[in-house]
């Protein structure tokens, strides 16, 4: 199923582990070199910046090639012709993608992700132009099949996410009539996905999907929360069904507050980084949901107080963990090399503060416009 040479993927994993051990000064340079020699990696995975560059440029090439095709066929302009062009374009990108992977050994190089997106997009666009997009359920299933196929064949992160969302979308569209059960359905299905992904992630035969499945776990946890969040449920009910009063609203208030706390609890209990981080992000979601309906204090007071609480909280925990306790430490373990080498902090801070003058009381985070056109979504 997977397009890559499995031996190569395994070699890559071994060398990555060895490099990590080397960075932690567990093995000397000579041993790292001998491991590299014994497990050669021919896969082409450039650094993050080149991946972003390849992604953008491949998209540019694709879009202009598509434009060129359309321009040539302009005389016979009908929906069917454009549908045909789309299908042809999708097939073409898929062939190039396969060649890139098989011949040039690209593995998460940015170019492959761009081709995947274009192929999938053109295919779905083509099917819709040819008249197959009228039924949302059918469209959802089509999305699911296409993204699942890409996910299985290329172990791509974004495609995995799309597959998850397509599954949820299809279910919601199918079972729209059961609107009161819908939130629980989403919670149930998301939990099922999370449970399954946790089981599969450590299975030997799925080892090549390991990293991607972790990202998918995070999304499953997020959709689980969205299913029970008071704000989301209420807005959807109002927008879709025109209901103003939410029956049994208190259940959703309980879920809104309890789910992130449960994530945090279990994250610390079983020492799972994904649960913990998603839980932390969702604590912000609790704050915003509550603030949306009950304005406890003016925004600036809430910000100041929240800031003080957070700073003090982090301060005391770091002090407390100065000597590692209960298996926790506040020291970093391995991420040093990568993040520091990219000097990301410097770039981040310069982006963060627009100018010295604070003025507007705009406060828009949480939702996060984290759509940054990253490469294949893998880092």
């Amino acid at each position: 199923m997977i397009a890559y040479n499995k031996q190569q993927l395994d070699n890559r994993e071994i060398v990555l582990e060895a490099e990590k051990a080397f960075r932690r000064q567990l093995i000397p340079q000579e041993e790292l070199d001998s491991i590299r020699a014994a497990y050669p990696v021919a896969l082409y995975t450039p650094n993050m910046y080149l991946r972003i560059g390849l992604f953008i440029l491949t998209l540019i090439i694709g879009i202009f090639s598509y434009g060129f095709l359309c321009l040539i066929m302009l005389s016979g302009a009908s929906e069917n012709v454009f549908g045909g062009i789309n299908i042809f374009f999708a097939i073409g990108s898929f062939i190039i993608l396969e060649l890139l992977v098989k011949e040039k050994k690209h593995y998460k190089s940015g170019a492959d992700a761009a081709l995947m997106w274009m192929c999938g997009g053109a295919l779905i666009g083509g099917v819709m132009l040819l008249g197959g997009g009228s039924d949302p359920v059918a469209l959802g299933i089509f999305f699911l099949v296409v993204s699942m196929w890409f996910f299985l064949r290329f172990a791509d992160q974004v495609m995995g996410w799309v597959a998850q969302l397509a599954l949820l979308f299809t279910l919601v569209e199918m079972l729209q009539s059961l609107r009161l059960v819908l939130p629980f359905l989403i919670i149930g299905v998301s939990f099922g996905m999370y449970w399954l992904l946790r089981r599969l992630v450590n299975q030997e035969q799925f080892r090549h999907y390991k990293g991607v499945m972790k990202g998918m776990q995070a999304l499953a946890l997020l959709t689980l929360y969205a299913g029970g969040n008071y704000f989301v449920v209420r807005e959807v009910n109002e927008g879709w069904f025109g209901l103003t009063a939410l029956p049994m609203g208190w259940i959703f208030w309980v879920l809104t507050v309890a789910i992130p706390l449960l994530y945090l609890y279990f994250g610390l209990r079983i020492k799972d980084q994904i649960l913990l981080r998603v839980g932390l992000i969702l604590v912000a979601a609790i704050v915003f949901t509550v603030r949306y309906y009950h304005s406890v204090a003016p925004l600036e007071v809430a910000m100041t107080a929240g800031g003080i609480v957070m700073v003090l909280f982090a301060y005391f925990i770091i002090r407390y963990l100065k000597v590692p306790k209960h298996g926790f430490t506040s020291e970093e373990d391995d991420e040093k090399g990568t993040l520091e080498a990219l000097q990301i902090e410097s770039i981040v801070i310069s982006q963060s503060f627009k100018s010295g003058v604070p003025g507007k009381d705009r406060f828009d985070f949480g939702g996060g416009s984290a759509s940054g056109g990253g490469a294949s979504g893998q880092y």
Binding site: I35, I60, G215, R277, P298, F353
Partner: protein
């Protein structure tokens, strides 16, 4: 406040980076094959047995967000209460907190050196950042409420500027240095944050473009001097980063500006800007090779691509024929392929040892 936009990305990247345990079984096999020595194997076993769970990133993020919220909240608080009695209390609180932050940093800091100085403890960087942000709020507020600096509005931004640069060097803090550069640009009238540019809220005049170009040039010179004089050479990246973006952005913006209004189709000043851009790009290219940084190679390449494409499209427009459209499309396909080949080859020139 753009930081919250960035943080989810960091979180996500970090999520992807994390591999919880060392793969003991795999290393066992490597030992059997004689690729690693029994000594290393026992090292690895010992490391895996400790199996400490790191909360480093989570705590740092909370701390960072807390600092942002606190300084932002106080900033708004002081403006909201500008006509009430309470504002003096808030002002006093800000002044005290700011002084406290600087005092803490002064007491805790390691001895000054022109090289890289490590932070003495995990809080140091954040306390300094908070102190600097509060100081900016304090000065801006003084000006707004009391007009302390009368008509010299520039002074109100100049004082924080000096303090920021001094703090960046004295306490060795890259984030504060970025803040200082941003403020320097604001003082000169250029808002350098890429976000403002993307939002399109920046009014672009020729004066602004020239300022950007000169400031960018000055920053690149500063980068050169930090290495030449060996004064805080690790600050070079930040100077170079800002300098490159400012200069190249100024060139590209100036080119686009030459078709701003009607009747300027024959304005050929864009060619001059393109030549300037080529010159800067060559310098950046050499710097990128010197510092083995692919980031600069990519940025230089992308700006160059935009500039070249603009020139080509303008020239094709002169032909006023249908063939020009075809030629344009073919140009974009060919040039993108060309840029890919250039970037891949440039990447090979910059050695990367590890797979990541």
């Amino acid at each position: 406040m753009g930081a919250p936009d960035i943080l989810p990305i960091l979180f996500y990247m970090n999520l992807m980076l994390y591999f919880p345990q060392m793969n003991i079984r795999m290393f066992g096999k490597l030992e059997q094959d004689g690729l690693i020595s029994p000594g290393s194997m026992s090292n690895i076993r010992a490391a895996a047995d400790k199996k400490l769970f790191s909360l480093h990133w989570e705590l740092k993020t909370i701390l960072y967000l807390g600092v942002l919220l606190l300084s932002g909240g106080l900033g708004v608080l002081v403006y909201k209460n500008i006509d009430t009695i309470g504002h003096q209390v808030v002002l006093l609180a800000i002044a005290l907190a700011c002084a406290g932050c600087f005092y803490y940093c002064y007491r805790q800091k390691l001895p000054f050196s022109w090289g890289k100085v490590a932070a003495p403890n995990p809080f140091f960087d954040y306390v300094l950042l908070l102190g600097c942000l509060l100081f900016i709020t304090f000065i801006t507020y003084l000006q707004a409420a009391y007009g302390v600096f009368k008509f010299h509005y520039g002074t109100a931004t100049f004082i924080p500027l000096v303090v920021l640069f001094f703090s960046a060097y004295y306490f060795d803090h890259l984030g504060v240095l970025s803040l200082a550069i941003t403020n320097l640009a604001a003082w000169l009238g250029v808002n350098v944050s890429p976000l403002t540019f993307l939002e399109g809220t920046m009014y672009i005049s020729m004066r602004l473009i020239m300022t950007g170009l000169l400031l960018g040039g000055a920053l690149l010179l500063l980068d050169y001097m930090t290495h030449y004089l060996r004064k805080k050479p690790h600050f070079g990246f930040t100077y170079r980063n800002f300098g490159m973006h400012l200069m190249l952005l100024a060139c590209v913006t100036a080119m686009f500006k030459s078709t701003d209004s009607y009747g300027m189709e024959s304005d050929a000043s864009y060619l001059i800007w393109f030549v300037i851009q080529i010159g800067i790009s060559i310098y950046i290219y050499r710097e990128a090779l010197k510092h083995q940084s692919f980031y600069f190679m990519l940025m230089m390449g992308l700006y160059g691509y935009v500039g070249l494409s603009y020139v080509i499209v303008r020239l094709l427009l002169l032909t006023e024929s249908e063939g020009g459209i075809y030629a344009g499309i073919l140009y974009f396909i060919a040039s993108a392929i060309g840029l890919i080949i250039f970037l891949i080859n440039a990447n090979k020139k910059i050695k990367h040892d590890s797979l990541q």
